[in-house]
């Protein structure tokens, strides 16, 4: 395993940096903010006795919606051991979380708080299109999926959201919008598409709170993620 100073363009630093992206989205992701890894500037890896492997990274991340970038120092500890456990990430952002999304988030929240029962699917569609009204729900799906992708990240994975297959809005609970999402995640290393169901809540104040995550066995035969009332 690569140890010491890492080539920032090579896969070890890139995979660890991807885990940082997922972590940052669990903190800051919203219907109007999605963070992406832009560049890795430097990386350093070392074995930590009895714990695993620790990466120190300097990266630049970018908000997909505002296009603003920010440099970030991060640490990622991939735990050792037989069973896969989530990495521990230390990272924070100062500028990107302050981009003014409050008004839009509040407007979205108010609209769907009472007008419940949103159903949507295939975000984006086969041709990469998303209805502008549905874009916030695609972004929300990325933010919520980041909890899964972070949990599943190892030194041998590289996760992205391939598609939000299905969005079902459930009854608003405790002043939080509540959703059931079916997402397709792509792991670059295995090239597999992994199906997950996510139950989570969101509000501008509380952000995304995941209630349940469930990996679905993919039968490799045709499966249709259905809307619940079909």
């Amino acid at each position: 395993m690569a140890t010491g100073e890492l080539n920032p363009n090579h896969y070890p630093a890139q995979r660890a940096a991807k885990a940082v992206q997922h972590y940052l989205n669990t903190l800051y992701g919203s219907p109007y903010r999605v963070i992406f890894l832009n560049r890795v500037h430097s990386g350093y890896a070392e074995d930590v006795a009895d714990s695993g492997r620790k990466y120190k990274l300097e990266i630049t991340v970018q908000d997909h919606i505002s296009n603003k970038t920010e440099k970030c120092k991060a640490e990622v500890l991939f735990p050792g051991g037989e069973q896969q456990r989530p990495p521990q990430v230390q990272a924070s952002l100062e500028e990107l979380p302050t981009t003014d999304t409050k008004a839009e988030e509040e407007a979205l929240f108010q609209k769907y708080k009472t007008n419940q029962g949103l159903l949507s699917e295939h975000l984006p569609d086969s041709h990469g299109h998303v209805d502008p009204d549905m874009e916030p729900f695609m972004h929300l799906g990325s933010a919520a999926s980041s909890f899964i992708m972070l949990n599943e990240s190892t030194e041998n994975t590289l996760y992205n959201v391939a598609q939000v297959a299905n969005v079902t809005q459930l009854k608003t609970e405790n002043d939080q919008l509540k959703f059931d999402y079916y997402v397709l995640l792509h792991d670059m290393i295995s090239q597999e598409i992994i199906h997950w169901k996510l139950l989570f809540t969101w509000s501008p104040q509380e952000g995304v709170k995941v209630l349940q995550m469930e990996k679905l066995p993919h039968s490799h035969h045709n499966e249709t993620p259905q809307n619940n009332n079909n």
Partner: protein
């Protein structure tokens, strides 16, 4: 009476326009279904018959033709060639879009750009817009098939899944690394090396012309990378330094178009180790320049790249591909272009001319 005469006139005008209109009316910035691409190939070959022929060089598992466009000025002699294939993985829709764009560009520019004209004279371009025809068709079937990757041959007996990863099926360190023997896996390398008809078609066509092929480009998405051989980290191409140098220059050319960064390196360094790729097989055949292009994006949309990114992606990739093609062409037909080379060439010519004069006078 006036109206019908006017209408007749308009119809006549349209007919004349259609007959003389050499340009194929095609939107290169939308994704096209397989039937649309096949129809486009036929029209291109018809409208540019002086330089384009269609060659069917194999059949898919489901018995569909695998076709390429052979593009070049006929000299009546055996020519060197450039190979480009797109769509070996069904879900990578931007790749076939790029092959179509590439074809339209070289056909447009060779008439006015002396460099492209020269290249068309010296070389043929073999471009396969969709290699994995069955897979590509399947990915268009419905919303549940969009992310299909492999071909559509059935799995081995007892397997409940279909498809082999064509880019793990070639005879290049086959089955050693970055593959799965699980027939349901997306990197299933097949029951044997070159077990798949699509891989056999490429191996047969390219194999029989390998002395003539200067450059093998295979187009994929996504990740924004230019990958050089080999996928198995235990093997290093003898010209790896040159491959890197040319690749880095191509990445600079790409960046100059729309600012996108493409990383350059061997698969095991930059992405992951793998074996049985068409690029590795081509290099092992002795084709000196072999690159995998991984086009946009970096994971934001992944395989489902929005159509409004087709144009910029094609423009930048064209710039990169052209850089490699130019380099390979000049290296073959102009020799080393550094100062020492030019001086040596001049000295050689002086000697040859002197010898020629001497022998002629005898």
């Amino acid at each position: 009476m006036l109206n019908s005469a006017a209408l007749g006139f308009v119809v006549l005008l349209s007919a004349v326009e259609a007959a003389t209109n050499e340009r194929v009316n095609y939107d290169y910035y939308k994704y096209h279904s397989m039937p649309e691409i096949s129809k486009w190939m036929t029209q291109i070959a018809q409208n540019h018959s002086e330089v384009v022929t269609i060659m069917d060089y194999g059949q898919t598992y489901e018995k569909r033709n695998i076709s390429l466009l052979k593009i070049g000025l006929s000299t009546g002699e055996r020519k060197k060639a450039i190979w480009m294939d797109c769509g070996i993985h069904a879900r990578e829709w931007i790749a076939p879009a790029f092959c179509q764009y590439f074809v339209s560009q070289i056909l447009q520019t060779y008439k006015t750009d002396p460099k492209m004209e020269e290249m068309m004279k010296n070389m043929d371009f073999y471009v396969t817009p969709v290699l994995n025809v069955d897979g590509y068709l399947y990915s268009w079937k419905d919303n549940n098939t969009r992310l299909w990757r492999k071909n559509r041959s059935p799995g081995p007996p007892g397997c409940k899944c279909d498809g082999t990863d064509l880019n793990r099926n070639f005879d290049a360190n086959w089955g050693t690394v970055g593959v799965s023997s699980d027939c349901c896996s997306n990197t299933y390398c097949g029951s044997d090396r070159v077990s798949e008809p699509e891989a056999q078609a490429v191996a047969s066509f390219v194999g029989s012309r390998k002395e003539d092929i200067l450059c093998f480009l295979t187009i994929h998405s996504y990740s924004q990378l230019l990958l050089i051989p080999y996928g198995n980290p235990n093997f290093i191409a003898p010209n790896q330094d040159e491959l890197m140098e040319v690749g880095l220059a191509a990445a600079e050319a790409i960046k100059a178009v729309h600012g996108k960064i493409y990383k350059v390196g061997t698969s095991p360094a930059v992405l992951y180790a793998n074996s049985g790729s068409s690029r590795d097989w081509a290099r092992m055949q002795g084709i000196p320049f072999a690159y995998t292009f991984e086009l946009r994006d970096n994971g934001t949309f992944g395989f489902e790249l929005p159509e409004n990114q087709i144009q910029p992606t094609c423009e930048e990739a064209y710039s990169g591909a052209l850089h490699i093609v130019n380099y390979v062409h000049d290296k073959t037909f102009k020799g080393p272009m550094d100062g020492a080379g030019a001086t040596a060439a001049a000295a050689l010519w002086t000697v040859l001319l002197a010898v020629g004069v001497t022998s002629a006078s005898m």
